[in-house]
């Protein structure tokens, strides 16, 4: 008879089949079934990005399954070549599956807005969430710690954490593929097979490395990452949506402190405390549904600013962003001030409705341990071998003026001459 399996049909990875006769995979099934992991269904992978790219409606749940699926393919291939790795299968696959359980509502957006850190919460869940810890302990007594070491890059075998969390990890591979698939941005497509074939293990240093022949596949992956950040994640409309959310939460915190806001226990706790000090259950009770529900409620709140911000977010009546990167820093500050003067009367509060936003985009960073290629006799950093990668290291800074749609920004900017006397008229997003 066919074995007892569970299959997730994934649009990117096809059938992801877990075999309950395999001890590690049985554990994965049980972890997926915890309420802590199911909660990821209620957290959008890309926060408010679907307001800009309508297909981006997927959750951390689907992404987490995908990371685990890629990690299994990558790990099982390496472990077949280097059986010494076999002992780490449970740690790698559980770490891949659970790496995002600590996320709050709207993923990274909430971190920026509320100030919590999902890594902190992933670790707390691992250590303290009873249903998770019990399952891990049931498998082996130090599994939870091993997973925590992976997240902190302290696992004694670097390859083990590098598969899950490094510049070339299964997390990034899945989200690039997935976000490309769902947003319809076809330039985000990776050649997963070629990337997996490029991965190798260095017995001496115990690192995840790249075979010399794989240089092209990895260069391509890094370029794709650059494009996805430049075109999707840092799209100016996305900045605007995040910024409106941020202003909304600031206002809500202020009103809550003044006793002028109604919210349920969970939301009240999130608005009144430093997020990372919340009790675990209060943290886990928060998700996109709870947060968005409150935003919807507050659309009719007595405070005009809060009500207006919520209406704008809920109904996607978003401000605009105009790039002003080519002005000096001093000019940018003056432009903001001028824009605020002009906007007087257009919006309830010009300090709240106009602002500057800086982005920094790069496809590769040199921090920590970078990607290394196996060249004859030595491991060489990819940045030494690839002019393309060296270009991606240079961050691209951009500055945006966020402002009401009705504001005549071109007219304002016209008064701020560029060095070369250029009369730049900016695009509005």
């Amino acid at each position: 008879m066919l074995p007892k399996t569970r299959t997730y049909h994934d649009p990117l990875h096809g059938a992801i089949t877990l075999d309950s006769a395999n001890r590690v995979e049985a554990l994965l099934i049980e972890l997926i079934d915890t309420s802590v992991f199911q909660r990821l269904r209620r957290i959008r992978q890309l926060g408010p990005a679907s307001l800009t790219f309508h297909g981006a409606e997927g959750s951390r749940f689907t992404h987490s399954l995908g990371v685990m699926a890629i990690a299994r393919r990558a790990f099982d291939r390496l472990a077949a070549l280097y059986p010494v790795l076999d002992q780490y299968r449970a740690a790698v696959l559980c770490a891949a599956l659970l790496h995002d359980v600590g996320h709050g509502p709207f993923s990274h957006t909430a971190e920026e807005v509320f100030g919590g850190h999902h890594e902190h919460w992933t670790r707390r869940i691992l250590e303290s969430a009873p249903e998770v810890r019990r399952l891990l302990d049931g498998f082996s007594s130090d599994l939870w710690l091993e997973i925590a070491q992976i997240y902190q890059h302290q696992h004694p075998v670097p390859c083990v954490w590098q598969l899950v969390s490094s510049q070339l990890d299964c997390d990034r591979i899945d989200y690039l593929m997935r976000d490309s698939y769902f947003t319809g941005a076809s330039y985000g497509q990776l050649d997963l097979d070629r990337i997996l074939l490029a991965l190798d293990y260095d017995l001496a240093s115990q690192q995840l490395i790249v075979a010399k022949k794989g240089l092209g596949a990895i260069e391509h992956y890094l370029v794709v990452r650059y494009f996805m950040y430049a075109q999707i994640y840092n799209h100016p409309k996305n900045l605007v949506a995040t910024w409106v959310l941020e202003q909304t939460i600031h206002r809500a915190r202020k009103l809550m402190a003044e006793g002028a806001l109604e919210a349920d226990d969970t939301m009240a706790a999130w608005l009144s405390h430093s997020i990372d000090e919340l009790p675990l259950d209060k943290y886990l009770a928060q998700d996109d549904y709870v947060l968005h529900y409150h935003l919807q409620r507050w659309q009719t709140h007595g405070d005009g600013v809060l009500a207006d911000l919520c209406q704008r977010f809920v109904n996607r009546r978003l401000p605009k962003a105009t790039e002003i990167s080519h002005y000096t820093y001093a000019q940018q500050t003056d432009i903001l001030a001028a824009a605020r003067r002009q906007a007087y009367g257009l919006v309830p509060d010009t300090d709240i409705y106009l602002g500057l936003r800086h982005t920094r985009n790069r496809g590769y960073t040199l921090y920590q341990r970078g990607i290394k290629l196996k060249m004859p006799g030595e491991l060489v950093a990819i940045s030494q071998l690839s002019p393309l990668v060296r270009t991606l290291i240079q961050p691209c800074h951009r500055t945006w003026l966020l402002h009401p749609a009705e504001l005549p920004v071109a007219k304002i900017l016209a008064e701020f001459k560029l060095g070369a006397g250029d009369s730049e008229i900016a695009d509005e997003f």
Copy 2:
């Protein structure tokens, strides 16, 4: 200079560009920007189906854009061949865009559970929602009525409503393509180009018809529809999730009637009234976020049954479905009774936690006007030309026993002999 356009990058249809210099498309942009249409972002296309197919997380908003995009391609091609159709462009495209604005939370699921009718609400929105009506009236005074005629199949030119709502309409084409793409069920892929090339217009009867050469493309579309219903929409796990939701709402209604349930204004109205008689603003205030928020809250309600049902739904601890189609109707009733006896003690209430569910799946129906092919000298119904389509007309009935996962169903069924003495052991889903 490039014209002022708005582009939606769609994973299925590529760049959907609306040109604001075109009067019809400018209207479409404004309609998309209404809060009534933006609300569709908060209503999942497939209700709770993502509990079964994790990729099915898309909203009615993305689907509605897609229907409009397909309708535009189909209509513009026909109108180029038959300029007499040109005058209906606004009606067809607006009708395509707005056809789902009346949906409630979890789409069709909510209709089954709460008893409302989305067609009723789409019409009320068209007629009475100020921001929508004002835009339509601004375009032309009878546009709203023309759109309403389309939905009611009463537009004087049948082709006009057939493009939007018939057995071969742009709505179905988009949802089959989209649900296939997001669930990863590759057997749902259509050949959109071939379908669009197959469409023709019959000047005499003013109907949307199919060119003789297009028979294969349309047969394939109907077969795909059959498979998507059989494998995705009517998947037993989907039945189970819907059923849990239904039981939950029944229980909540009961408690609400007893004054024993806390809910906000919107939810209270939905639980206390016949849905189709709600005021428009109360109807529109409801969506997936509001409903799911309450389900999450009720997980800790004092009523053990309600709390348990909500916990099961929110954390996806779903009952099982076992097919019992091959038993007689009388046996099915006896099986349910026996199962309820056995389940005593396992669940808080065996009437609520065990039940039967019937599905009827078919790929084509003969009701109303069917799909017609242009044969020499006459229009012929596709069912007369295609043995495959005739097969799809036969409904496939199935019956499921829904029951707690722990119940030993095989043992219970073993006592219900089939005619041939067959000791059928059923699959559990």
Copy 3:
């Protein structure tokens, strides 16, 4: 160090990696490198179909790699569940790889035209081609015989031959997927993962069977097969191209017999003998290049009929096909006669340039062993379980009049009244 592998990057199956450290896969690499297998690069998978579907330019070589890749996935999954199968890995994979080595120019088209049988030649190559036989014998002394048994459905374990050659084999799965991919006929796309998950092995009968849950996936596969035959393989333009080729070869044989044709040794042998009695080297020397080269040469031959037929084929100046299926058999014969009378003077020889062609299309046949599903306690034929499959069993017969493009066929047909007095005007292809 990474193992010595060879990777074929396949547009359908991704990276197909063969590991030379694995004895079976090392053999596969060596078989691929034989001139007998490389010859498949010179034989188009779909013969002259690229004249109708321009993307259909792929070779038997790429298809054969694909069949092997699918067979490996299917076999390795089953062998992991049923280790008793392990011993057949070499036989299954070699049989999958080599199943088409016996094909002649333009694949099946050449068989129809020249009258040879590729199965006959596959077996002769297996037995007698030195480079192939030496490799197989080097692996094990009875491997070649085991492979031959697979092709003849005589292997003692039916599952072994069923994976390679049955109504649900890896050959058909690959060609449906591949031909769909290359022709752009998206209705040919299969859900390979679901099909592979549906396959099971029946220990008692040693057959390849389908799990009950897999019914939908297999129904879909059979429907796709039906559509691909109806729309692609039996496309009337394809019939026409094949028919021109057939007439050309008949004429060339006649001229060769009269000593009035120049051809090289290979071509001369093919035109003068019964194909299946050729010496092996003469058979293998023939391929698309050799045949097409001669067709190009004969464009200037002194025999006007041969020259004209070759010019038509080479430059794609093809006759037309008009469906006359709805006429009685007697009428069809009369129509041909009438058409020949009308065509007198239009073409060099009306017997050669006008003809009838019959096609019979069905998605499933009942011959031999059909596909069986594992139902509780017994194996049941899929045709008993599925109304769709029963419909596909009914053959769909069609008759075509093949005729010069300039012939006014509608006028001719107008004189042949249908039973109901219908004045059918047929489409021309």
Copy 4:
């Protein structure tokens, strides 16, 4: 009734429908039907690349249809915005369709090997091939000249030739997409919709330019081009196959000059003359079939070298390539000499069987007119705006030693110390 159209179903561009009621498209249909254009079916797009990437079996015919399809989309969108362009539709679409009619066997490979120039022949066909010229003249008397101007970048409206032949033309877009699709190299996928939306027309300079917002889409296109060259077109195995073909033709020319080679008229003419001086009919008589046919024949030629080279090419028994880029120029020469000494006896002639090959890969060149973006008040070269593009301008030079597979290259190289005493052991391809 539906109009008389012709549809090519393309795996990349979907249904490419030509409407014979449109005068330009009727001309395109007739041009496709000429024997000159049909000949492109017999010329592989990527020459011998299918020996390295087995899916690369498509012809110039399919590519040419694709270029025309993209050109039509791009042109029609621009002409709708700038009606002044309308008058150039025939020239642009015919130029796109016919741009490759001058190609010889194995496309660019034959140019390298035989020394002809396909641009020369495209122009001669345009001017002198009766069936083509007659059709063009029938449309308008100066159409052929206008098309010739496009190919020579002399058309008075630069946008017109830039669409067909520039650094951002429809030719490159199609071949990158197509070669990626057929080789399965998913990193070659472009975002065609975003590229087309990025294109704009500058009324002042009459150039094809890129809208500021389109920078990302064009950067991506250039990066993809870089990867496709680096990984596919310049793959070392591809160099090797081309080199074997080159050696074969050199040898055949030599033998032909000595009167020691049998070949048909066409082949004899190609081996005896400077290609570009051949009569048109002799040039057109050559194609992949004719050339490959002769290679197959010569496998048994009396000259051992010619026979061996042909056998290697036909049966894909190719030499190896080892990268020696990191050695100095002088060392590279010495390595070749040492390798030739070592290879003595292994091959019939070490001068023929060992050699060096240089490749130069870059994604963008600054020659001629580059891609310009429309910035406020001026057009700016993309290289000024994009660090990525500036990186792609830097050519990447590589040097390869081509040698028999059996030669112990690592041992030879070990004696050539690198500057840093590095004992580089090179990969073999």
